[in-house]
């Protein structure tokens, strides 16, 4: 069993390298992904080893990147597209929502669109506007797309492998402020299916559901709560579409309390969908209403204010306390 400690960034790089190596139809496309290796260096060294024909620096036009990726997929390729930052995806939103998501159904299943769209997302890096957003709900709302986000290096490695192999379009949100967090990656065997949640910490009093960058915050919150004698379970959702409601249900039936945490605005966020479904499924198990912690209904603030906007340890613990007070 090969275990290696690496950062999320390195795990993604290794995973993409393996994908390019394994399948000659896999392509990498995006702005600055070639010589520079991407602004976060996720594709570092790949063009050098696989050539400009497979690791493609594109013109600065997101709709063009996704639109041509669709054409390449129709020709039999498996493009992995990088959108440089979350806030830059919207010029491509039409191609993603109107074409990529719907073309398989439009063709009554006769064509497939194996395109992965990688998006570094979320805040916490002190960036200028448009570099810190969490638009996952805008994609999860669209039938035909699947939306995932890893929270650790092992998941980053394996979920990328699985995303590239998927015959459905995958929006792959990468927690950019966690890129440099290190973890053990077991490179020999697949840990589990792409769209299953994983239990990050077991507990009995309350369930925290999070994904991507918020898993770490929730684990810290659970550890802090433990010192006060509260036993918190943390579920790493991993997939925002489809959502592993069974796993959440199992946990909530045990704990009776649920708090959903994400960076994205609470209003119409994935927490709303989870709250509604879990209320339906677990009505008689719930000791408190499902609570949500997330961003506000305001544009992502300037960097000096982002610590106030992002759900941090205290805001998660505040929600935990409110839930336990019922």
């Amino acid at each position: 069993m090969a275990m290696e400690k690496m950062s999320i960034a390195k795990a993604l790089n290794e995973s993409l390298r393996k994908a390019l190596d394994t399948d000659p139809k896999v392509l990498i496309m995006g702005e600055d992904v070639g010589k520079l290796g991407g602004v976060f260096r996720i594709t570092d060294g790949l063009q050098k080893d696989f050539g400009e024909d497979r690791v493609i620096d594109t013109p600065l036009a997101e709709s063009g990147i996704v639109g041509t990726a669709i054409g390449l997929a129709l020709r039999g390729y498996r493009p992995v597209v990088e959108i440089q930052f979350d806030g830059f995806v919207f010029p491509a939103y039409d191609q993603i929502v109107t074409q990529l998501a719907k073309m398989h159904a439009r063709a009554l299943g006769k064509i497939k669109l194996p395109v992965v769209i990688r998006i570094p997302y979320g805040g916490g890096i002190g960036a200028v506007e448009h570099h810190s957003e969490s638009p996952e709900a805008l994609f999860a709302h669209v039938a035909g797309l699947k939306v995932v986000s890893p929270s650790n290096a092992s998941d980053a490695y394996w979920m990328m492998q699985q995303a590239v192999q998927s015959d459905d379009p995958i929006i792959f949100f990468e927690p950019k402020r966690r890129y440099w967090d290190k973890g053990e990656v077991e490179t020999d065997s697949i840990p589990g299916p792409l769209h299953k949640a994983s239990l990050a910490r077991t507990g009995t009093d309350l369930t925290l559901v999070a994904y991507g960058p918020m898993v770490k915050v929730c684990l810290e919150a659970a550890a802090a709560a433990q010192e006060e004698g509260k036993s918190i379970e943390v579920l790493d959702l991993r997939s925002m579409s489809p959502i592993d409601f069974d796993a959440i249900q199992t946990s909530v039936e045990k704990t009776g309390r649920l708090v959903v945490v994400h960076e994205a605005p609470v209003f119409y966020g994935s927490g709303a969908e989870i709250a509604a479904r879990i209320t339906e499924r677990c009505f008689y198990h719930l000791e408190a209403p499902v609570l949500r912690v997330g961003g506000y209904h305001a544009p992502y603030p300037p960097a000096r204010l982002e610590d106030e906007y992002l759900p941090g340890l205290d805001r998660v613990l505040d929600a935990v306390d409110r839930s336990l007070a019922y």
Partner: protein
């Protein structure tokens, strides 16, 4: 002996014509507005054959009759579809009336291994690709969103959102080049689409990657109610110059010129010389769709002036003048047209509504538990009416 070799030829107006490439070079120092739009024409509205220094074509009488037949049958199919909409059999129809030469000329320039990315109006191109015309009607009847297998005839699904498919064509062409194949790709779009960002981006990408794609713009003068002047200040074919590839304007009602110019652009793509923009200058004789009312925004005189340039009439005049087709041919074609109309009519009327559970089919290639759950709920809900129906008997 070919027809052309016996054809009467008009003197070349060579001073008025240059190739697209030459035009690009000559006008590079001028403002775009200052250059006179050139129109490649090989067959005048009166049915006179012209020669062109860059686009020669030499067709047999049989080939000419073939083009004529394609245009007549396409027009007949189109008229039947319009009638079927009026009868309530189709929810909507987007007529290609007037654009037969642009579509048949370009469509017949293609090889089997070439790939087509159409808009929703390319019924003539579909005909050339061997797509059963009745397949085109499903989406207009509302029983599917297209549904044919694009890879059967290398004819992609109709794209409704304006201009999106030009990027798909470019990506596909990039793939063709990666495969080392010598196929070409053709993207259809219109004058309205030329304003879309996706079209501009497809020009950029195809030029940068030297993709083997032909952009075939049917400038039919109207984007629903907006004339071409609301889309551009320069002749559309000149847009190519700024992206670094040639553009050419062709008489879109001249099937011979459309065939010759498209063939030349496709050959250029095959040789690895990159994209070409072809602007087929034509006219939308009908409404935008059956929901549109062109009397609100354009004059009858304009339509009448284009009637004189009809693509089918001019080829018929030429065929008759050259003795390339006899009365028996035209009579047989009339009968074939009526048979096609009848076949289409019957096929549409026999087209069943899909099973409601099909809503949940093909949402994902690899499945999705949410879709499965909703399908089961829907099926149970539908089944809950079974008893009621039973009681009602």
């Amino acid at each position: 002996m070919t027809v052309e070799s016996t054809a009467a030829r008009k003197p070349r107006r060579s001073s008025k014509r240059t190739s697209a490439v030459k035009t690009t070079a000559k006008t590079s120092a001028k403002t775009p507005q200052s250059s006179e739009p050139e129109l490649v024409q090989l067959l005048t509205p009166e049915g006179e054959r012209l020669e062109h220094p860059d686009y020669s074509i030499d067709l047999t009488a049989e080939e000419l009759r073939g083009l004529y037949r394609d245009m007549v049958l396409t027009r007949r199919f189109d008229a039947e579809a319009t009638a079927l909409q009026r009868q309530g059999e189709l929810g909507l129809w987007a007529s290609l009336l007037g654009q037969e030469a642009a579509q048949i000329g370009s469509g017949r320039a293609l090889r089997d291994d070439d790939y087509v990315f159409p808009t929703y109006r390319e019924h003539g191109v579909a005909w050339c690709r061997g797509v059963d015309p009745t397949n085109l009607l499903g989406m207009f009847r509302g029983v599917n969103h297209g549904g044919w297998d694009p890879n059967t005839n290398n004819f992609h699904l109709y794209t409704i959102v304006i201009g999106s498919q030009t990027l798909h064509a470019t990506g596909y062409a990039m793939g063709v080049a990666k495969d080392g194949a010598d196929s070409a790709v053709i993207a259809y779009f219109g004058d309205g689409a030329s304003s879309q960002g996706d079209v501009a981006e497809s020009f950029t990408f195809s030029a940068v990657y030297n993709a083997p794609v032909v952009f075939f713009c049917q400038n039919n003068q109207w984007a629903i109610s907006e004339p071409t002047e609301k889309q551009t200040r320069v002749p559309l074919y000149q847009r190519a110059q700024g992206f670094g590839f040639p553009g050419v304007r062709v008489d879109g009602n001249d099937v011979l010129a459309c065939l010759a110019v498209t063939r030349s652009a496709l050959e250029r793509a095959r040789r690895g010389e990159g994209p070409t923009l072809v602007e087929a200058f034509t006219y939308r004789m009908g409404a935008h769709t059956t929901s549109d009312d062109p009397t609100k925004y354009r004059a009858d005189e304009e339509r009448a002036s284009w009637e004189a340039k009809d693509p089918i009439l001019r080829l018929r005049a030429y065929l008759e003048k050259e003795g390339a087709a006899d009365e028996a041919f035209f009579t047989a074609l009339d009968e074939e047209s009526e048979a096609l109309g009848k076949r289409v009519r019957e096929a549409v009327r026999a087209m069943p509504d899909p099973d409601p559970i099909a809503i949940f089919d093909n949402v994902y290639a690899d499945g999705n538990p949410l879709v499965d759950e909703e399908r089961a709920q829907f099926a149970a809900y539908q089944a809950s009416f079974a008893d009621t129906a039973e009681e009602g008997k």
